[in-house]
C-alpha cells in the first residue's frame, strides 16, 4: 500500500503519517530528507528525532537522489518530505525543474519497489499567493508537479487539516 499525506505547516501531517506508519508490520525505515542548516532546521530535526525515538524506526538520512537509496531489507518506509527533497534537488544539487521532477518521481518509484508499504509526506505550499521570486516559483511548480505525479501513482492520498485526515483518494 502506497500512501501520500499532504498538509500545510503545523497541520499535523507528520503525526498522522507516523500514526499510519506505526500500524504497519515489518522493519520500519524512516527516511529523513531535511538537511541540517541553521538553528531552525536543527530544532525541527531534533523535534522529529525525539518524536521517533523508541518507536523502533530505523532512520536513514538521505537528502537528494532517492533513486540511489537501497533499503537493507523489505519492510515499510516513511519518507518525509517531498517539500525538502524538492528544495534539495533544485537548490543544493542544482538540478533544473524537469531534472528535479524526474529524479524525485523515479526515486519514489524505485523506493516503492523495495518495500511492502510506503508512506510519503508532502507539503501544501500552494495557497499563499503568487508574489514570489522566480526561484521560489520554480520550487512551487516543481513540487506541485511532483505531488500530482505521486498522487496519481499512489493508492491513497490524505489531506490533513487541523490534525484530521480527509481522504482525497482511496
Amino acid at each position: 500500500m502506497r500512501t501520500l499525506v499532504i498538509g500545510g505547516g503545523a497541520s499535523g501531517k507528520s503525526e498522522y503519517a507516523e500514526e499510519l506508519f506505526s500500524g504497519l508490520s515489518g522493519r520500519k525505515y524512516y527516511i529523513a530528507t531535511m538537511m541540517p542548516y541553521g538553528e531552525d532546521s536543527l530544532w525541527r530535526i531534533e523535534k522529529h528525532r525525539q518524536a521517533r525515538r523508541n518507536r523502533g524506526f530505523f532512520t536513514l538520512e538521505h537528502y537528494v537522489d532517492i533513486g540511489a537509496l537501497r533499503l537493507p531489507e523489505r519492510g515499510a518506509a516513511l519518507l518525509e518530505c517531498l517539500g525538502n527533497l524538492t528544495a534539495n534537488e533544485l537548490f543544493s544539487r542544482g538540478l533544473g525543474e524537469d531534472q528535479a521532477f524526474e529524479s524525485i518521481v523515479a526515486g519514489i518509484n524505485a523506493l516503492a519497489l523495495q518495500c511492502e508499504d510506503l508512506v510519503v509526506v508532502t507539503n501544501e505550499v500552494f495557497s499563499g499567493g503568487n508574489r514570489y521570486d522566480e526561484g521560489t516559483l520554480a520550487y512551487i511548480r516543481t513540487l506541485g508537479r511532483v505531488n500530482a505525479a505521486i498522487a496519481a501513482r499512489f493508492d491513497r492520498v490524505f489531506e490533513v487539516v487541523c490534525g484530521i485526515p480527509a481522504a482525497i483518494k482511496g
Binding site: 500545510g8 505547516g9 495557497s127 487539516v161
Partner: protein, 114 residues
C-alpha cells in the same frame, strides 16, 4: 464549540451565519468581548503562549473561525514562522476539543469532524 477553517475570502462567515443563524453583531474578532462567534483567530495568535492564555475562552465560544495561514511557502522571518506554527498547533488542539470541525472551500463546507 464548532471550529471553522478555510482560506481568505472562502465564505467562512457566510457559512456560519446561514448554517448556524448568527448575525454580524454576534461575530467579533476580540476574545475579551462576550460574543458567541470569534473570527480571525489567526490575528490574535503570535506564539504558543498566546494560545495557552486564551484556550479556555476559545472553548467557551459557540464558533471559532480561523483563516488558514499554513498553506503558503514557509516564511523567512522567524517571527512569522513561529506565528504560523502556533496557529497550526492551536487549531489541532481546538479540533480535538471541538464538537464539529468544518473546512470551507469555495463557500462549500467540508465536514472534517462531526
Amino acid at each position: 464549540m464548532i471550529l471553522v477553517v478555510g482560506g481568505l475570502a472562502s465564505g467562512k462567515r457566510s457559512y456560519v451565519k446561514s448554517e448556524y443563524g448568527f448575525s454580524d453583531e454576534q461575530i467579533s474578532s476580540s476574545i475579551s468581548e462576550n460574543f458567541p462567534v470569534l473570527f480571525d483567530l489567526q490575528e490574535i495568535i503570535n506564539t504558543d503562549e498566546d494560545s495557552e492564555r486564551i484556550f479556555p475562552a476559545l472553548l467557551n465560544k459557540r464558533v471559532v473561525i480561523c483563516t488558514d495561514i499554513g498553506c503558503g511557502i514557509v516564511p523567512l522571518d522567524p517571527a512569522e514562522r513561529e506565528k504560523r506554527e502556533a496557529v497550526g498547533r492551536l487549531c489541532i488542539r481546538l479540533a480535538r476539543e471541538a464538537e464539529r470541525v468544518v473546512r470551507i472551500h469555495c463557500g462549500l463546507p467540508q465536514i472534517l469532524k462531526d
